[in-house]
Amino acid sequence: MFENLSDRLRAVTERLRGRGRLTEDNIRDAVRDVRRALIEADVALPVVKDFVARVRVRALGTEVSRSLNPGQVFVKVLHQELTSTLADGAAPLNLRQAPPVIILLAGLQGAGKTTTAGKLALYLRERERRKVLLTSTDVRRPAAILQLERLAAANETAFVPPPGPESTPLEIVESALDSARRQQADVVIVDTAGRSRVDEALLEELKQLHGRLMPAETLFVVDSMAGQDALNAARAFTETVSLTGIVLTKADGDARGGVALSVKAVTGCPIKFIGTGEGSAALEAFHADRMASRILGMGDVVGLVEEVQRKVDQEKAQKLAAKVSKGQGFDLEDMRDQLSQIMGMGGLAGVLDKLPLPGVSADKLAGQMDGKLITRQVAIINSMTPRERRQPRIIDGSRRRRIAAGAGLPVQDVNRLLKQYGDMQKMMKRVSKGGGMKRMLRGFPGLGR
């Protein structure tokens, strides 16, 4: 069998080579193989299904040029989708609250909560220059509180012990909040006992703690090695305390870490950190692209993807050049490609500035097309059928409504996009007639000459 997804994808690639355009038929095997590979990486099955369906939709609309094979195109789309899903909503630790800012850590038994509490304390003290207080509400596991106390001492962080030998978790946090006020601490990190998703009493306890603390961050600490049930666990936790972020621990192991995608999908929370060792300094920022590569079990595939990307850009640009020079044939797939490339170039304004565009207001066009808007427009095009993308004429009212629903956007956005497509087409025609072609093309990626 395949050693990892890297091998698998190469196999996928081989199988698809030479089959031309991506169709339902010729990507069926590849889709199945990728699905299997993701399951092997411990991505939860429902998430695999959902994710692969999304990638399939995107891939189906993609034309395959001669210098590429369908497998490569499929790989590229897959990796992009995985990266953007994992990166979605990325945000740093939220410390913008009246002090003391509370960070609550929760998760399954043995996930790494206590260790992570120590790491965060060190990080906040050294990198963010905050005055941190640590406290543990784990009155259950033997020596759990002592464990955090030792870590605090080793990191020279203040630690608030339980007020008494029989203190309840709530009493412990009251006492910690008191100390935080008196000592004017900036941040209080609250460790909790490990608990499973089926333990209703302990989930209730967590809910109470959360209600009392009103944390700025409620972080779900999850083991990179976690399996299928992590999806259910994350759901139970976020239903209990509405999580705000994820910390993926033990990423220094050799697990593929598909749980990152599962947990991301079910909670919608950003992955804020990864744990990369047992020491308190072993806390790192999360990188979606690296994680995507890792889940896919590769290193070399990223290289492959990038190479494909370069080739695709070049060919698309050449094809576009042909279309533009003829003043026809520019369709919504071309527009999507352009939008995607523009996102990587700091917006359209930069491109348009370089172009002589008689009668077209560059500012206006660019104003319509930056940031989130572009992402939305790509989503709209993605929710069209391949035929609609190639023949935008056929998009009538009911198609517009379907497309809008598919993209989760109001139908006005679809109208606006189609209007803009019309503008772009006009612009192309003018440029081709006005002889500004060569200079214009210089503005597009992949056309250096």
Binding site: A41, R141, Q228, A255, E278
Partner: protein, 334 residues
Amino acid sequence: MGADGRTWGSGLAKLYHSTMPPETTEAARPRSGFFSRLRDKLGGSRLAGALGLLPGRPLDDELAEELETELLLADVGVDAAAEIIEQLRRRGAREGFADAEAARSALRDTITAMLASHSRPLAIPDRPRPFLVLMVGVNGAGKTTTIGKLARRFTDQGLKVMLAAGDTFRAAAVEQLQVWGERNGVPVVAQQPGADPAAVVYDAFQAAQARGIDVLLADTAGRLQNKEHLMQELIKVVRVVRKLDPSAPHEIMLVLDASQGQNAVNQARQFHEAVGLTGITMTKLDAGGRGGVLLAIARQLDVPFRFIGVGEQAADMDAFDAGEFAAALLPASS
């Protein structure tokens, strides 16, 4: 199974979430009833009646896919699941299944058969003494807690038990083990933090010899199997204690966490390669994970499955039983 079972993200997950019993954390639970209770609660037929196969029919494709899905959801892994379904198909072609339930029950049999040869409980023989059990595994798997449970079990059997605090690395690991020693009324041999774990186990073994101890349970620090130096450290523990008794450790028990997925296969393989496992115990089967990865491991390694952990208290451990494990792995029908 109907459409409901296939609507991911809601149906199945909610079913599991909302129907699991609230955990009574302190109260002792009826040990024998655990699996049947789990089965009842997880049950709620997702297949029953959905695909009425005619008597004596081969395995229906759709049913095969649904069963495979259930295996995958239980962390069985792609290859093992495919192999199991293939076996089921062959059996279906041979014997035919009266209905979906017959197929499902045949699947349970197939799984039971796969696990049966690995199902070998750990019985402490009369000799040698002390009988050394070395606990190994990745970080947070449940080694220290399992030692607490084993100590309970063996003292209940009238054996003299001692614990060795071989985790000299993690903060308060020694104190954690000492609490388990106190709970069970058994001595704990420990050294200062940062001590050489090989020396701790060696000294503990000598102490156990001197004190006529029957079973010495040695804890070790959690280690990820891809960390070469930590695996070397473990190899050294084994090598050093063999100077006292060439047959020691008499049991090298890998602890696997049932909430983990396919990486457990690497864990089993690499720990086995490093120190030669003689037993595997799976913890946290009460927490939602099904531990189906044991099926993948069973195909690859001939290492006995010893116990299952079903909670955080001393009594929360059962001997591994292939039939019960197979039954709990799949949601019951009807």
